[in-house]
C-alpha cells in the first residue's frame, strides 16, 4: 500500500462527517430557495427548479421587527461587557490588590451557573427596577452575566504582556489609568475583537433570558423564531428560511472572523 493511497483513505471519514455537518445547511437553503408551489415535504431533499425568494421574503416580513430587536440589544450588550471585561482583566492581571486571587474565581464561577438558579430573582428584580419586558433589561442581563468570560479573556491576554512594559511606563510617571490608556489599550484591539464577537454571538443566540425578560413586541429573533416554529400556521419552508435568517449574522461573523471566534471559544475552556 502506498503512502499516497493511505492518505486518500483519511479523507473518506472526513468527507462523510463534513456531509453530516452540512446537511442542515443544505436543507435550510434548498427549502428556502424553492417557490411556494414547489415546496413539499416529500421532495425536501431535491434541488429547487429555479431560485425564488418567496420563503425568505415571507420569513423576513414576519421576523424583521425581531431582527432589529436583536441588533439593538446585542450591540450595546457586547460593547459594554467588553469594556468592563477589559478593565477587570487589566486590574486582575497587572494590579492585583489584596483578595484578588479570591475574587477572580468567584467571578469566574458566574459563567458556569445554570441560569435557572437565578431566574426567579432576576425577573422579580427587573420588575422592581422597571426594566421588565423591554430591551434595556435584557442588555443589562447580558452585560452582567458576560462579565466572567470577558474578564477571563482579557486577564489571560494582559497576563502575557511583560511586566517591564508596565513598570517602565510607571517610572515615566504614568498612573494606573495612564498605563492602561497609553500602553495596554492600543495593543488590545485583537482581544477586543475576540471578546466583542464572542459576546455578540452569545447574546444573539440566547433564548432563555430573552424569553423570560421580554414582552412579545420586544422579542429578539430567537424567541420569535421558536414561536414561529411552534405555531401550526407558519409553513415549515418559511420556518427554514427564518432559521437561516436567524443564523446568518453569527454565521457571517464566523466566516469572516473565524480566527477570533475560535480564540474566544478556547478562552471559555480556561486552559484549553
Amino acid at each position: 500500500m502506498t503512502r499516497k493511497r493511505s492518505r486518500l483513505l483519511l479523507y473518506l471519514p472526513l468527507v462523510a462527517v463534513a456531509i453530516f455537518y452540512l446537511i442542515p445547511v443544505y436543507v435550510m437553503l434548498v427549502t428556502g430557495l424553492k417557490g411556494f408551489e414547489e415546496v413539499n415535504l416529500k421532495t425536501m431533499w431535491d434541488l429547487p427548479n429555479g431560485i425564488q425568494f418567496d420563503n425568505f421574503i415571507e420569513a423576513y416580513n414576519k421576523l424583521a421587527p425581531h431582527l432589529w430587536n436583536s441588533i439593538n440589544m446585542v450591540l450595546p450588550a457586547a460593547v459594554i461587557s467588553s469594556i468592563l471585561g477589559s478593565l477587570n482583566g487589566y486590574v486582575l492581571a497587572k494590579w492585583k490588590f489584596k483578595g484578588a486571587d479570591i475574587i477572580f474565581p468567584l467571578i469566574l464561577f458566574g459563567m458556569f451557573i445554570p441560569y435557572q438558579s437565578i431566574l426567579i430573582p432576576l425577573v422579580e428584580f427587573m420588575k422592581t427596577i422597571n426594566l421588565y419586558g423591554g430591551l434595556p433589561g435584557l442588555v443589562l442581563t447580558h452585560v452582567i452575566y458576560g462579565i466572567p468570560i470577558t474578564t477571563l479573556t482579557f486577564r489571560n491576554y494582559y497576563a502575557t504582556i511583560p511586566k517591564e512594559l508596565v513598570e517602565a511606563a510607571k517610572i515615566d510617571g504614568a498612573g494606573m489609568m495612564g498605563v492602561y490608556w497609553n500602553i495596554l489599550l492600543p495593543i488590545s484591539i485583537p482581544s477586543f475583537v475576540v471578546v466583542l464577537i464572542w459576546q455578540f454571538t452569545q447574546a444573539w443566540n440566547d433564548f432563555l433570558f430573552a424569553v423570560v425578560l421580554t414582552s412579545p413586541s420586544n422579542w429578539p429573533i430567537t424567541v420569535a423564531l421558536n414561536n414561529m416554529a411552534g405555531s401550526q400556521i407558519v409553513a415549515w419552508n418559511v420556518q427554514m428560511a427564518g432559521s437561516f435568517l436567524t443564523a446568518l449574522p453569527t454565521l457571517l461573523v464566523y466566516i469572516f472572523l473565524g480566527r477570533y471566534f475560535l480564540r474566544g471559544m478556547m478562552a471559555g475552556a480556561l486552559k484549553g
Binding site: 416529500k42 435557572q116 443566540n205
Partner: protein, 295 residues
C-alpha cells in the same frame, strides 16, 4: 513597589463588576434558595417558611424522576458522542493533510449558531412520520436504501431523549475537535519521533503516548460538556416543544415557575441544578487556576 493608594484605585476600578456579580450571581442564588424554602405559589410572592418540603416533594415526584433519567441518558450520549467524534476528527486533521482549514471550518460552524436554529431545523430532519408522509432523514434513508435506519427519533417511546443528543453532538463535537487539536499540537514531535525510532507502531504511539498525554484535555472537555448537558433547555424546546417524555430539569423549572406558578418548586429545581453543576465546576476551577503559572 505599589502604594496603598494604587491598591485602592485598582479595587475601585473593578468594584462595579464585583458588585454586579455579587448581586446577580451570589445574591440571586441566595434569593432563589430562600424561595425554594418557601410556600410561594401563585403570582404574589409568599415567603412563608416551609423548610425542605419543596425538595422532599421533588424526590417523590415521578416527573422529576423522568428528568433525572433523561438528563443521565442525554449526558452519556452527548458527552461520549462529542468526545469520540471530536477526538477522531482531530486525529485525522492532525495528520497534516491538505484542506485542513476547510474541514475545520465546516466542523466548527455549528458553534456559531443558536440552539433554537439547530432545534428548528433538526425538528424537520427528525420528522418521525413514516409511510406515505415520510420526510426528513427517514426519507433520505429510504431513498438510500438504508431503511433499517428509519426510526421515530425523539418520539421513540422511552428512548426519545437519546435522539435529542444527535443535534447536540452536531453542535458541539467541533468544539471538542478544536480543543483536542490544540492539545495534539502541544505534544512535542520529538516524543513521537523517538518512539518511532524505537520501533513503535503508529497505533502504539497513539495509545501509549498521545492518548495519555491528552487525558487532562479530555477531563476539561468532559466537564465543560457535562455541565452544558445538565443545563440543556433551548434545544429541547426548539425540537419538541414542552413534552413530558423529553422533560429535563431546566424545562421542569420553567414550567413549574412560569406556567404553573409553583415558584417554590421551580426555585428548588434551580438550586438542585446549580448544586449538580457546582460539583463538576468548582474542582475544575480550582484545578485550572492553581496549575496556571504565577503572573
Amino acid at each position: 513597589m505599589r502604594s496603598k493608594k494604587e491598591n485602592w484605585q485598582a479595587f475601585l476600578l473593578v468594584l462595579p463588576s464585583i458588585l454586579a456579580v455579587a448581586v446577580f450571581v451570589y445574591g440571586f442564588i441566595a434569593w432563589s434558595g430562600r424561595v425554594s424554602l418557601s410556600k410561594w405559589k401563585g403570582l404574589t410572592p409568599d415567603y412563608t417558611w416551609t423548610g425542605l418540603s419543596n425538595y422532599v416533594e421533588l424526590f417523590h415526584d415521578p416527573r422529576f424522576a423522568i428528568d433525572v433519567r433523561n438528563t443521565l441518558i442525554f449526558t452519556v450520549i452527548f458527552v461520549f458522542g462529542s468526545l469520540v467524534l471530536g477526538l477522531l476528527l482531530s486525529l485525522l486533521l492532525d495528520t497534516g493533510l491538505r484542506g485542513e482549514g476547510i474541514f475545520r471550518s465546516i466542523f466548527l460552524f455549528p458553534m456559531a449558531i443558536s440552539y433554537i436554529v439547530t432545534g428548528v431545523v433538526w425538528r424537520w430532519l427528525m420528522n418521525p412520520a413514516t409511510g406515505t408522509r415520510i420526510s426528513g432523514l427517514n426519507l433520505l434513508f429510504d431513498k438510500l436504501g438504508l431503511d433499517f435506519l428509519i426510526n421515530q427519533w425523539h418520539t421513540t417511546p422511552y428512548w426519545g431523549i437519546a435522539a435529542i443528543a444527535l443535534p447536540a453532538v452536531w453542535q458541539m463535537s467541533g468544539y471538542c475537535m478544536a480543543i483536542y487539536l490544540a492539545g495534539l499540537r502541544a505534544i512535542p514531535d520529538e516524543l513521537r519521533e523517538a518512539a518511532r525510532v524505537d520501533g513503535a507502531s503508529e497505533f502504539q504511539i497513539l495509545t501509549g503516548i498521545v492518548l495519555p498525554l491528552l487525558r487532562p484535555v479530555t477531563l476539561s472537555v468532559m466537564i465543560i460538556l457535562g455541565h452544558m448537558s445538565l443545563k440543556v433547555f433551548d434545544l429541547i424546546v426548539a425540537v419538541a416543544g414542552k413534552q413530558l417524555p423529553l422533560d429535563v430539569p431546566a424545562l421542569y423549572m420553567w414550567q413549574a415557575t412560569f406556567d404553573g406558578l409553583f415558584y417554590g418548586r421551580g426555585a428548588a429545581i434551580g438550586i438542585l441544578l446549580l448544586l449538580s453543576v457546582a460539583v463538576l465546576i468548582i474542582p475544575y476551577l480550582f484545578y485550572s487556576l492553581r496549575s496556571e503559572p504565577e503572573l
